[in-house]
Every structure is written in C-alpha cells, then in structure tokens.
Symmetry: C2
Subunit: 438 residues, 2 copies
Amino acid sequence: MHNTQRPLRIALAGLGTVGAGVIRLLEANRDVIAARAGCEIEVVAVSARDRNKDRGVDLSPFAWEDDMTALASRDDVDVIVELVGGSDGPALALARTALENGKGVVTANKAMIAHHGLALAEAAEARNVPLKFEAAVAGGIPVVKGLREGTSANRIERIYGILNGTCNYILSEMEDTGADFAETLEEAQRLGYAEADPSFDIDGIDAAHKLAILAAIGFGARIDFGNVRTTGITRVTAADIAQADALGYVIRLIAEADVEQSENGARLLQRVRPCLVSKDHPLAPVDGPTNAVVAEGNFSGRLLFQGAGAGEGPTASAVVADLIDIARDEVGAPLSVPVSQLVKMDPVESGHRVGLTYLRFTVADRPGVLAEITAAMRDADVSIESLIQKGRIGDGGDVLVAMVTHEGPEKSVTQALDLLEGSASLTAPPLVLPILPD
Amino acid sequence: MHNTQRPLRIALAGLGTVGAGVIRLLEANRDVIAARAGCEIEVVAVSARDRNKDRGVDLSPFAWEDDMTALASRDDVDVIVELVGGSDGPALALARTALENGKGVVTANKAMIAHHGLALAEAAEARNVPLKFEAAVAGGIPVVKGLREGTSANRIERIYGILNGTCNYILSEMEDTGADFAETLEEAQRLGYAEADPSFDIDGIDAAHKLAILAAIGFGARIDFGNVRTTGITRVTAADIAQADALGYVIRLIAEADVEQSENGARLLQRVRPCLVSKDHPLAPVDGPTNAVVAEGNFSGRLLFQGAGAGEGPTASAVVADLIDIARDEVGAPLSVPVSQLVKMDPVESGHRVGLTYLRFTVADRPGVLAEITAAMRDADVSIESLIQKGRIGDGGDVLVAMVTHEGPEKSVTQALDLLEGSASLTAPPLVLPILPD
C-alpha cells in the first residue's frame, strides 16, 4: 500500500497525552525511525477539540482540521492515527471513513476495537489497507505483535495477565500500605493513576476490552466482548489482602481466557476478576501500574511479556511501532487471520471447572454463624482447606471469616453461596476470589 | 517474494531435536498455521547426516538429499530452514548458496549469525529474499521480533538478560542445593540441560553470540561478536552463592549491552559475565533453563520478555513463526535496518563506568592477609561497603574473604587487583562479580 519512495504521511486525531507523545516521539527519534521504517514518517494534519490549548508541542507545521472526519478525506494522508477514544461517536466515524477511503488506521482505542473490531477489520481487509492497534492493549508492551507474529506457530492454550494499570496500582498500594480501597483510589486519582471517573478501570471493563482483543488474536475467535464475565476490584478490602498475604498470596485483577473443545465446537471462556496469585507465580511481583501478559502455546510453552501498561511514552511507542510496520509494508490481517476465518465461539459455562477458591464472609458476632456457613459448605460438597475467623473488623460488631477451599468444581461454591443467600448471619455479601492456577 | 496462491515450500537441513520438532509442529498445528500464514507450509525436502536414524517422525513424504547444499538448488523449494549448527562449514555454505539462488533462509544458528550475519544479511538484501533467525536467540521467546518490530519506535538504551539456559539452570540449582559447580554441571549433563562438551555454554560464548545479535538489532550497530567481553560461570562457587544470598542477591549469568556517545561517535559496550542480581530485580526469580531479556527504550521504558530459552518445542515455535512471517510477506531488512546503514561502533573502554562490585578472595589463614587486601583497596581508592571473612573452606587451610564495594569506577577495582597480583597471601585468583544495576 505504501510507496516507500516517499514519506509515510499521517494525520493525528486527538491531541491528548498520547497524541502529543506521538508528535514528541516522531521528533525525538526521527533518525532511528527513518532508518527502520525505510522512509520518514511525517505528520501532515491534526485535529482535536481545542485548537488553542497548550500541549507543549508545536502544531504550526501541521494542517489543522476542525472537523476530525475531514482528516480521512485528505489526499495528502496515508494513515489516520485515531487517539480520540470512545467505542463509538467521532472515533468510530473517523476510523470507518478512513478505511472506506482506502487509508490505513492506527488506533489506541481498546473500546472501539472490542466493540467494532470485526467490522473495522473487514473494512480494512476489503480495501487491503492496514488496521493496527498495538497501543490498545497493554500500552508499550508489544503483546498484539507478540501474539500475532511471535506465537503464530502455536495453538494458544491460555492467555492471562494483568491488563489494567490502575487496578494493579491500587491493589499493590493497598498491599504496601494496609490502606483500604476507597482511600487508595483517592490517592491514585490524586497521583494521576486513576481517572476522575474511575469506573471503566476499577470495574474491570478496560481489562475486559483488552482481553477480548487478545483472545480473538490468540484463539482465532471472533471478538466477543459481550461475553467477558467481569468483576472489578471495588469489593476487595485491606482485610482480604492481609488474609491473602498470610496464606502466601497477593491479590491481582487477572484477565484470563482459554478455549474448551465441546461437542458443539470450540467454546471460549473469558473472564476478568480479582484473583489470589501465589507469591511464587511470575505475575505476583508485577506491581504498580505495570502490565504483564502470559501466553501459553502448545509448542512455545509459557511466554511472559511485561512492561508499562499506559502513559504517554509507552503508548506512543506502540502507536509508532505500528506506523513503522505500515511503512515497511509488514501488514496483514488485523486479527492475524481474515475475519471470514475467525471462529464464532460460544461462551463456556464454567461451573465444571475445578479450582481453589478464597471465600470471605462478613458475619454478625453471635453463636452458630460459623456452624451455618460450614454446614452450607458441607451440603454443597465444598471441602475447606483452611479457615480463619478474625475478631471484629471496622467500627461495627462484624466478624470476618475467610477460608480457602480444596480443589473442587466452581459450581459447588456457587451452590454453597446460594444456600447462604438471605441468611441473617451474613451482614454483607460474601466475596469470592479464585486462586489463579499455576 | 512468496506467491500466496500456493504453499510455502520449505527444505529442512538438519534433523536433530529442533528439525524433528519443526516437522512435528507443522503437522500438529497445520490448520492454525495455514489460517495465519494464508497458505499451507509444506516440507518438500530434507537432509541430515544419517538417513536411517529413527527420529520419531515419518520422513517418507519428503525428498531426501544426501548433499545438504543440493537443497538450495531445488526448484521446488522457496525457503531453506538451516538447523545444522556451527558458525562455518556446511551450515554457512548452505545459507550462502540458498541466498545466492534467491531462496529465503530461516535459521536457529546463533554462531553463524554472530560471525557471518552481516554478509548473509547483505546477500539477502541484494536479492530481496528473507533471512530470519528468531530461533537463534532465546529459543521460543520472540525477542528478535520484539526488538525488530515491537520496540522499533525507540532509541534502545540498554539490552540485558539471561540468554543461556544451561548456565541459568546450573546457577539456580547451585542456589537450591548448595552443591558446587562441578557436581551441578555433571547433574545438568545427566539431565540433558548441558552438552557433553559444555564449554560453549558455561564459558559464556553462546550467550555472547546471542547478545551480539540483539545489540545489532537494538542499537542499529554492525554485529561485533569479537568485542563481546565474556566471562563464564566456572569460577562461581557454592560459597559465592551463599555470600550473595546473605547479602540479598542471586548470581546469574548476565549478557548486557549499551551504547555510549563519545566524541568519536557511538561506542558499544557488550559483555557477558556472572553478576549479583538483587532479589527485587525482575531477573532474580528467573530460574532453571528459562531465558529473559530486558530492553529499555527511551519511550517504551523497560520491557521484559521471558520464556523457554531452548528445547524442541520452543525453538521449533520460533522457526515456524519466521516461516509464517515469510508466507505473509512480512519481511524486511534482516537486522531491522539495511546493513549499509548499520553503524560501525568501536568498543567502549569501560573503566570509567561506576558500579558496585562483589569481590571474593581465597587466602591463606595467617596474620596480615586482611590488612594486605584492605590496604590495596585503600591505595586504589576502592571503598568497602561490607566485608565478610569466613572460616576455612574446603579441605585446605584457605579462608574466604568476600566484600561488596561502594559505588566506584570499575578501573579502581582493577587497579586494586593489580596491586595484589602475585601476592603470596592469595591462594587462588580473586573472583570479581559486578552487581547488576537496577
């Protein structure tokens, strides 16, 4: 698509942290980029909401478009870099128009790819133009390329990891300080590790977007964001982290996907949830806003990719790496195989999966409560490996009961909790955290 | 180069563990490979020393060539997969002939690329055919692609890691068992983690080959294997590992490269040597035959790639990933930029580099020895942070004196050792292990 005799000409939509970072990077590393790309990468035009905002970069060399979508109609542009964000709206309109007009698209927009990646990839394939989104998953870590090119010879058996820096920062801070969730979130907001409206991050939606993208590439499945079962970190308390620590674990928000063969074809399990992670596991030392992804291939074995999951520099690094791929003409099917060959996989009912589970109950401090809980466990055939009852927590008269089960089916735990549903002994809904299998 | 309407036809030279693994992988993952590659990858012909050896794979579908080089002249072959090994000899003859005949080459041969990579890459560029060697570095970890494509937007500031599984296995076994080097090496040989002639591994040469390749790609430098300063692990004792442990470190064979700007242009520092690694460092938990590579980019920040560094499955995974790249026509300059644009970098004299150093002396047990050593340190301006003198070691009457210096120039340590050269107090040459900077 790209004629390597002349510069690759790009237009930038969105000039927030990452957009300004891309301009800075292209300037700072101009020589190495040109050597590797085989040509200059030149910003031709830009668009953002406010023309006059000071972004610390000189916009005067670039044409300005008030109407973002107009970038996609410029004859002097080869590739649109979409850094506006949002699953729909202007970002999607721009990406669609660009691909229809035969221009390549590079984006950091995980929500848009999770929701509309199939349609966009089809549009890109139809016109044989690139659609690339390394920056949409795990910031500066080249994990889309890692799966698309690095592990391409493998049947991927499982993909899991830490895909949200905000949650990982909060959980590892709670671990270090002993502070509770709300307090740590506030601190994270103050330091810029969490947004003013943090729900996309702390509810696990951002990690779910990224997981849905990785699962599609790794397993050759149609992107299915709607079936990522997602639990955030808002109910994890300092007491849970202390209990986990005593048992030899840390708590991390883990995004995890695998494929199960069934009579009706392959089924996809995708979930995001806080898990107990053994301190011996390679993901346990991953702290702060760092991201890490593990991919297990049937020949490669376990591969780990780790690095900065967000931020101006790392995200710009991923955006420009995609541009260099395009300049080199090293582009192919956006999702590794053509959309027409991606398999539609139904979601797995995971009740038959076996594992260890951490359960925490907040209960009234009166006789018989422990007997009630343990009876429910017995009746649901959940075998308890260890149990700790801790004195009063917080200001109220509540008591914390934490336990780890022996290995057993997930549905037994669900059944035990159903038996306890509505019990007057429980003063808050129980918290269930799976223990990440090795 | 490759016409995607028909299979990519390959010839395999060398049918050892990896060669047989490639055949097994292509068979086991045929469907996913075809989907991702956009065509079948078909073995057409093979060659190895012994036609009749049982390799656990059926060779009957493939043409056999007694003369390996003849593979490179077959009209029905697009790509030669060279898995013979050895920096020169038949492997090099085959690769040269293949490229001259306009065929692509995929190889796992680190020695050949470290010694002849520039000439081979030039030959590949001249004919516009692919030369790929993901499997030559760190087995199944896609770190060549990680540097070539993943971090391509960055000025790489430093590359370092654990690149030899045999050494890492031996060092982490010594750590776990308290056994000494010779004993652990024997055990590693028995288990297949070390070759009958282990010198390439334990002397650090294998890691040096890999480092020279990564440095070229990361820094845009001409490959310069001759200037990798290499020290193996043979002199590390159980006592050193115990001392390191007491100080909060593990010992790992670290391959490390960086670039220094000088008046006369960029200079390259490449070295392989056992180092003390803080237990907090991401490389410390890397044990057994695992490999891990850290690349620090000026925008990406620190990236870590980790996985199996050798073995049939992982190495075959890397070989076939290269074949898929070729089938997709996603190939470019073998060393990321054309050979003509790689910079010839002189080696750095590293004496001015500052760091912490671990020093271990084996000394006669008599008065005045400690005074002699500490006086030499003082005279060379080496400041000692901690010192441990341990009672008699082994069967003789020797005493172990271990110390860690404060941060200071490397040349001061060298100077102190020069002052002690020939001293009758030292019963063995001292061991110097740098402490890996964070």
